[in-house]
């Protein structure tokens, strides 16, 4: 008898009533389900919708910038648009897509668990996320408009006198709601990974995806409480006459920046690490090799997590109030584990048998964009260079290549990789590849010119610029690129539509996967597994499918299992 059989017997609902496979359907299922797979999918689709909305805002922003003195939108609207675009992309797309979506769906499967540790808390997380998102968008429908102080909401621009109205308050409430959603998910995922692993799946056999989610969860538990506290202080300043961030009342606006970035920098890794995890699943499978330097990779992730708590003030170099050498040293240092990751990925492909299916193409796109964004990030870690380009389009280009690069290319890589598992259907390979090339060309065309735009001195968050800046043509290029990127999402939607209307069965393990999620059916049954293969290394399914190349044949990478364990 396998654990899965037992789990099927034992893990049914409290009170022992039978599995109700003919249970609620449709909207009532969506409202009441505590199945991590349903919640994970809800998270994914919801965050993708938010991404499309925020992306549409980006298109308006880019359209405004096609000429130096355009009047497509008003100054106020422009400020609202980039504020909500940035906030939505970060809080409602990049984070929840990976951490609420992929992690929720995939992590329990990868560790052979029947569900998350706290299924009801998991459902609550989703509702907080959804309502938080709706709250953020609703700012546009208030009389004063949405928040317009940038996603960093620097005090005192975010004070009541400078930003009156309900829009900014809705923004604060939205961040608090989604913040709690993130905290609950983090608690849930860490507990699940620590306590619900299948027998034999030791910590150092966990897939890297799961490892990255653990570290992300730890960072969320560090960062989000600080953000929530800062938001409550801001609200108190706005409405209860507190003076945390007002000079006249003895407070300090710089304190806001310290608090915000103490959250904000770990947040950058909270957004990036999950996608690093996705990429580290896709590369080995499409190269038919194990991850190169598994332990080194785990330690790189952990040290990124640890170091990321000590670099917050690299966003404050130009304030003249921070200890430059300390923060520049740690910021430069954090490039090392990040670099190690990139080299590990290349070394994993080295000597492999690389198949360029859509997920793998997106990985290549991710690597190219991310390395460029990383190199310019190292430049920004040097205060003198930051003085020259801080708050210009150079920074916009840098963080889009890093963040949007990971979330879009890494995200779609994971999406296409696990799409067969999620739905049991296959997407159309040709359309997937077309989407990739459009996104890659469009994305590069959008953000590469922005480096030069920034070096020529165009600040970010401005709707107009000067003819004498000589950035008009470059801005037009960037806008063309943005619309091409936008069109790539249309190709994606068409792909989804076709695969939905004319389904092609994908099979349980279309990619010859390595990890446990491919050991169950597509989509997996309620409580996930019917049988589990024996777990003797980090790649149990590979071992089972390729015994002659199994991991435990390499010294130090697992233990050979006895024949009687191979149950069928």
């Amino acid at each position: 008898m396998t654990i899965a059989d037992e789990r099927k017997d034992l893990s049914h609902d409290e009170g022992g009533h039978e599995h109700d496979h003919g249970g609620p359907k449709g909207i009532y299922l969506w409202l009441t389900s505590t199945d991590h797979k349903v919640i994970g999918k809800s998270y994914m689709y919801t965050s993708l919708v938010f991404m499309l909305i925020a992306g549409a805002m980006a298109m308006i922003i880019r359209a405004q910038l096609t000429g130096p003195n355009n009047h497509l939108v008003s100054q106020q609207t422009y400020n609202e648009l980039f504020t909500i675009h940035g906030s939505m992309m970060l809080y409602l797309f990049a984070g929840p897509f990976a951490f609420g979506g992929f992690a929720n769906y995939i992590l329990p499967l990868q560790i052979g668990a029947p569900d998350m540790a706290f299924p009801r808390l998991n459902a609550l997380s989703y509702w907080l996320f959804l309502t938080g998102g709706v709250t953020m968008l609703s700012g546009f429908f208030t009389s004063g408009g949405a928040a317009a102080f940038g996603w960093v909401s620097y005090a005192p621009l975010s004070s009541y006198s400078n930003a009156p109205g309900a829009g900014p308050d809705l923004w604060i409430v939205a961040i608090v709601l989604t913040g709690f959603s993130g905290i609950f998910t983090a608690v849930n995922l860490i507990t699940t990974a620590f306590y619900l692993r299948a027998p034999g799946l030791t910590m150092f056999r966990l897939p890297i995806f799961t490892w990255n989610m653990i570290v992300t969860g730890m960072l969320i538990l560090i960062a989000f409480p600080i953000l929530t506290a800062a938001m409550i202080m801001l609200y108190a300043d706005r409405h209860f006459g507190a003076h945390f961030f007002t000079v006249s009342g003895g407070g300090s606006p710089v304190m806001w920046q310290n608090l915000f970035w103490f959250f904000g920098h770990p947040e950058v890794y909270i957004l990036a690490l999950p996608y690093f995890g996705i990429v580290t699943e896709v590369i080995p499978v499409f190269s038919r090799k194990p991850v190169f330097g598994y332990k080194g990779l785990v330690f790189a992730t952990l040290s990124i997590g640890a170091l990321s708590t000590g670099v917050w003030a690299h966003h404050m170099f130009t304030t003249g109030t921070v200890l430059l050498p300390f923060f520049s040293a740690l910021s430069l240092l954090i490039a090392v584990p990040t670099g190690v990751k990139v080299f590990t990925w290349i070394a994993t492909m080295w000597g492999g048998d690389i198949e360029f299916k859509t997920p793998m193409l997106f990985v290549v796109g991710f690597l190219v964009t991310f390395v460029m964004g990383g190199v310019t990030g190292v430049m920004l870690a040097a205060p003198p260079i930051d003085f020259a380009v801080h708050d210009t389009y150079f920074v916009v280009a840098h963080f889009h290549q890093v963040l949007a690069g990971t979330a879009v290319f890494g995200g779609f890589s994971g999406f296409f990789y696990w799409y067969p598992k999620l739905t049991g259907r296959m997407y159309r390979e040709g359309l997937g590849k077309l989407q990739f090339w459009m996104a890659f060309v469009g994305f590069s065309l959008t953000f590469f010119p922005q480096y030069i735009i920034g070096l020529r001195g165009m600040p970010r968050r401005v709707p107009v610029y000067l003819v004498s800046d000589h950035v008009t043509f470059l801005n037009q290029l960037s806008t063309v690129g943005a619309f091409l990127t936008g069109a790539s999402f249309v190709v994606w939607l068409i792909n989804m539509l076709i695969s939905w209307k004319r389904p092609v069965a994908a099979g349980d393990n279309p990619w010859d996967g390595h990890t446990l999620e491919w050991a169950t059916s597509s989509p997996p049954p309620h409580h996930n597994f019917v049988t589990l293969p024996p777990i003797r290394s980090a790649r149990p399914l590979w071992d089972a499918n390729h015994p002659e190349h199994a991991d435990y044949k390499s010294p130090g990478h697992g233990v050979e299992f006895r024949d009687e364990e191979v149950n069928k």
């Binding site: 409290e14 109700d20 009441t32 299924p119 907080l128 027998p199 910590m203 600080i226 640890a306 233990v559």
Partner: protein, 130 residues
């Protein structure tokens, strides 16, 4: 549990070191406070895992050679369908909105929160049918 303990302890101690360096070099106490808090967020869970590590039986998921059949007993209770998280979520949502629109949403939101919290607790105790 050993690895879990070490991860948290490692991060906690590392941040404590950074805190010390920052304390003596920058002499900026806002940052010191936050860093110190983070060190605590590493060390506190570490102590919890460390405490359990000594007291719990070895787990099959920590064994390199455990067989799948080794995990016997109840793994956990996983409720299938329940409306209460949704009710709680809406309660939290409406309560939070009172920060923007005034007290009246707090009345509805608070009621939903209390009702939802009570129901979800009862559900667990009586063994949750939807």
């Amino acid at each position: 549990m050993k690895v879990e303990y070490r991860i948290y302890m490692g991060i906690g101690v590392f941040v404590l070191l950074i805190t010390a360096v920052y304390f003596f070099w920058a002499k900026e106490y806002g940052g010191v406070t936050m860093l110190f808090g983070v060190a605590g967020l590493g060390i506190m869970p570490a102590l919890y895992f460390g405490w359990w590590r000594k007291r719990m039986d070895p787990r099959p998921e920590d064994s390199e050679t455990a067989t799948i059949a080794e995990s016997k007993g109840v793994i956990g209770a996983f409720p299938s369908n329940t409306i209460w998280p949704f009710v709680l979520g809406m309660g939290a949502f409406l309560s939070a909105l009172s920060l923007v629109f005034g007290e009246w949403t707090l009345v509805i939101g608070g009621a939903l929160l209390i009702f939802g919290a009570a129901s979800v607790t009862l559900e667990s105790r009586r063994g949750g049918v939807i």
